[in-house]
Symmetry: C3
Subunit: 336 residues, 3 copies
C-alpha cells in the first residue's frame, strides 16, 4: 500500500534502500516477508534481524550496519512502529451520514461529517463533534457531548450528561455514566442515592471493551487527557484519574479513588475507596491497594505461585504466623 519512500516521508524518517519498494503490511522480524515492514528496538533481537526477510526494518542508526535489508532510521523504532500501524489499519467505520435506522432526537446537534451506523440512538441535548463515528447500536444519552474525531464502537452506552473529549476511542459494551453504587440504609432496606453528577473524559482517552465508568454522586467522575484503560475495568463514582495514567484489564477502583498522573495499574489490581495515589506510581498485578500511596514507586501484595501441595504447607503456616512469632520471641528470651 505504500512505497518505502512514501513511508519514510509520512514517518519523517531517513531511509536506505529502494524508494519504490512496495510495503503492504507490518510483521515481526522473523515472520516478515519482502512486502512487510518490521522493526527492531533492542539488541536482544539481533539474531532475528540478521535473518530477517522483511522488505524494510525500522531501527536505530547504531543497528543499521547489521541489517541485511532496506531500513528506516529512527531513535524510537517502537514509537515509529506504532505510527506506522496507523497507516496500515483498515477503515471499518460506517459510511458518512446518518443511517436510516438511527434515532436522532430533534434536540440533538450533529456536526458535519459524522458517521452514524444502524440502530444508533442520540438523545435530546446531545452534541456530536465533527468526524465522530458512532457504530451500530451505540446509545448516547441526553446532554452528552462528544468531541471532534471520537469513535464509539458497537453497542457501547453513554448515559446522560457524559462528556467525552476529542479523539477518544470507546470500545464495545463500555458503559459510561451508569449510576454509582450509592445507597443509604433505611428502615426497610437499602434506599438509592440518585447519582446526580456526570462523567467528564478528557481528550485522547481510550476505554476498553466492557469497561464501566460510573457517574458521580454530586460532582463528576473525571478521567483526564491521555488516559488509557483496558477491557473490563470498573471505575466507581467520583474517581479522578490523572493524565496519561494506564490501567490494565480487570482493574477495579472503588468510589472516590484519586489516582495521579503517569501511573500504571497492572491487570486485576483493586483499589479501596477514598484513597489517593500520587503521580508516577506502579502497582503490580492483582495487588489490593488498601491505603493512600504518597511516594512514587512500585507496590505489590500477594504470595508467590507454587504447586498446590507446596503452597498449602505455606498457607497453613501463614495462619500460624502469630504463634510462630511468639515462639520465636520465647526462644530469644530463653537465650538472653
Amino acid at each position: 500500500m505504500y512505497s518505502l519512500g512514501e513511508l519514510a516521508g509520512r514517518l519523517d524518517l531517513a531511509f536506505s534502500g529502494d524508494a519504490q519498494r512496495s510495503l503492504n503490511g507490518l510483521a515481526s522480524l522473523n515472520r516478515a516477508g519482502p512486502t512487510d515492514l518490521a522493526f527492531v528496538a533492542d539488541r536482544e533481537h539481533l539474531p532475528e534481524l540478521a535473518q530477517t526477510r522483511a522488505g524494510a526494518v525500522i531501527l536505530t542508526a547504531e543497528l543499521a550496519p547489521l541489517c541485511p535489508v532496506d531500513h528506516l532510521l529512527s531513535d524510537s523504532p517502537y514509537l515509529m512502529f506504532a505510527r506506522a500501524s496507523a497507516l496500515f489499519a483498515p477503515s471499518t467505520q460506517p459510511p458518512l451520514g446518518v443511517h436510516a435506522s438511527a434515532t436522532i432526537a430533534p434536540g440533538a446537534v450533529l456536526a458535519q461529517e459524522v458517521c452514524i451506523g444502524p440502530g444508533v440512538v442520540v438523545e435530546a441535548g446531545a452534541t456530536i463533534g465533527a468526524g465522530v463515528v458512532l457504530d451500530a447500536g451505540v446509545y448516547v444519552g441526553r446532554d452528552c457531548r462528544l468531541g471532534v474525531g471520537t469513535r464509539i464502537y458497537p453497542n457501547a452506552v453513554l448515559y446522560h450528561d457524559v462528556h467525552v473529549g476529542d479523539n477518544c476511542i470507546i470500545h464495545s459494551q463500555a458503559v459510561l455514566g451508569a449510576d454509582g453504587f450509592g445507597f443509604a440504609r433505611g428502615p426497610g432496606g437499602w434506599e438509592k442515592i440518585h447519582q446526580l453528577g456526570g462523567v467528564r473524559i478528557g481528550d485522547c482517552v481510550e476505554i476498553g471493551a466492557g469497561t464501566t465508568v460510573d457517574r458521580g454522586t454530586l460532582d463528576h467522575t473525571v478521567i483526564s487527557e491521555g488516559v488509557i484503560i483496558d477491557n473490563q475495568v470498573q471505575i466507581a463514582h467520583n474517581c479522578h484519574i490523572g493524565k496519561n495514567t494506564a490501567i490494565a484489564g480487570c482493574v477495579g477502583l472503588a468510589g472516590s479513588t484519586i489516582i495521579g498522573a503517569n501511573c500504571t495499574l497492572a491487570g486485576g489490581v483493586g483499589v479501596v475507596g477514598h484513597v489517593e495515589i500520587c503521580d508516577d506510581v506502579h502497582v503490580t498485578g492483582m495487588t489490593m491497594v488498601t491505603r493512600s500511596i504518597t511516594e512514587p514507586g512500585s507496590y505489590s501484595c500477594g504470595t508467590p505461585m507454587a504447586e498446590t501441595r507446596e503452597w498449602k504447607r505455606s498457607a497453613v503456616r501463614f495462619s500460624q504466623l502469630e504463634v510462630i512469632y511468639q515462639r520465636l520471641i520465647a526462644l530469644e528470651r530463653g537465650r538472653s
Copy 2:
C-alpha cells in the same frame, strides 16, 4: 426546583428558615452555594458546616445550633439526603408508549403506561408490568416477566424465563439468564449441559452495569428482594442471594453458592462453588471465600500491600514458611 418549604413537606421534616428559599440541587457542604441543599451526618464535618454557604442543610437537632444557614431536622440526615436525591434526579426515560422501531412479539403482554425505546425487542410470552421502562436496545426473551415500575437501561439483555420483581433497576450491558457454565467430559471433549432453569429476582433489586446472572441448571438462580449488586459482578448458576445483601463491583460467585441476608461482599471478592455463607457476614475486598461461613462476622485473606522490593522479601520467605517452621521446632527441641 423546590422551595425549602416544599422539600420539608416531601421529606416530612421540620425546618428552620425561609420557606420560600429556592433549592435546585444537592451539593456537599463545602461546595454548596445558596441554591443547594447539603447534609451533615457526623461531627467530623463540623468545620465544613461552620463555613458552609449552602442554602439549607439536613442535620440532627443536636447540630442545628452550629448551622449558620437554614436547615431541615432529621435523625437520619444521610437517609434523608438519599430521599432528597430522588427529587432532584432528572428524568431520562423514553416517552410513554412503544417506539416505532421496537419489535414486540404478538404473544407478549404489555401493561398500560410502559415506556419502550428504540430497537427494543420483547419476545413472545413476556409480560411487562405497568410503568416499566425499557431503554433503547434492551432485549427481553420469551416468557420473561417484569414487575411494576422496573427499569432496564440501554442494551441490557434478559434471556428467556427471567422474572424480575417490582421496582427493580437493571443497568446497561447486564445479562440475566445466560447459560451457566456446565459441561460434562465426553469422549471427544466437553459436552454442554443445557441450562434448563431460569432466573428469579425479587422486588427492589438493583443490578449494575455489565453484571451477569446465569440461569440455573435445573432449578432457578435466585436473587432475593432488596439485594443491591454493583457493576461487573458474576453470579453463576444456581446461586441464591438472601434479602438486602450488598455485593460490590467485580465480585465473582461460583456455581451453587448460597449467601444469606444482610451480607456485604466488598469489591473483587471471589466465592468458590457449593459453599454457604450465613446471614450478616462481611467479606473484605478481594478475599477468596474457600469454605462455608457459619458465623456472622468479618472475613478476610491476602497480604498487606508494600513497596515491591520489601514485598518480594516477604514473599520469598512465605515460600519457605514450612522450612522456617521446622527450623524453629528444631531450635525449641535443642533447648529442651
Copy 3:
C-alpha cells in the same frame, strides 16, 4: 415430551421399565416427580436414589438394583444427563430468515437457513454459515466468518476479521476482536499501536456473557477447538488457548499468554503476559500466574481466609517475615 422408550433410543441406552412412560423434564433426584428424568453418578447419592420419586433415573448397571423406579443404563450417567439436557432445552431462536430491521451489507454472504433477528448488523465481506443464529442486536464486522450452526446471543459484538468455527456459542455482550491494549510512549503521551491481527476461534467453542477476546497486534489471537470460556473473562491480544481448555469466570489473561490443551483455570485467575502454560495444568481460584508452567499439575497462591481479626495478625507478621527469618538465623548461630 418424550416417552422413556424414545429417550432410550435417542441416547442409545438400554432401559428397564414402562416404555410409554412420559418424561417432560429433568430434575435432581430429590426434586424429581413422576414425569421427570434424573441421574445418579456416584454412591454418595444413594440415599436420594432410594427415596426418589423420579419417573426414571440414568445410572450404571451396578446401581440399578438399588433404584426404586424405571431406569436407563449407562457407564457415564453424567454425560448422558448432559445429552438428555439438549433434548429438553426449549428453542429460543428467532424465526428462519432475516428480520426486516436487520442491516445486511450488500457484500455479505449468508448461507441458507440462517436465523437473523431484529436489529442485527452484518457488514460487507462477512460470511455466515448454514444454520447460524444471530439474535437481536448482534453486530458482525467486516470480513468475519461464522461456521455452520454457530449461535450468537443478543447484543454480542464481533469486530472485523473475526473467524468463528462451526457449532460455537457466543453469549450476550461478548466482544470478540476489540483492539488489544497496545501503546508506545511518545513525547506527548501514549500513542496507539493499531491492532492489525484478527481473532481465530475453532469449532465447538463456547464463550460466556461479557467475555472479551482482543484481536492480535500483528498475528491473530487464537482459541482452539473445544475450548469453553465462562462469563467476564478477559483474553488479551496474541493469546493462544489450546484444545479443550476450560476457563472459569472472571479470569484475566494478559497479552501473548500461551495456554496448552486440557487445562483448567478456576475463577478469578490472572496470568501475566508472555508466559507459557503447558498442557494439563490446573490453576486454583484467584491465583496469579507470574511465570511459565512447564510441568502438568495443580498450582495456587494466596493465603487462607480467616476472621478479619485473626487474619490481621498474620498479615502483620507477613510484613515482618524477613526480620523473623533473620532472628531465627541469629538464634541458630547462637546455638552453634
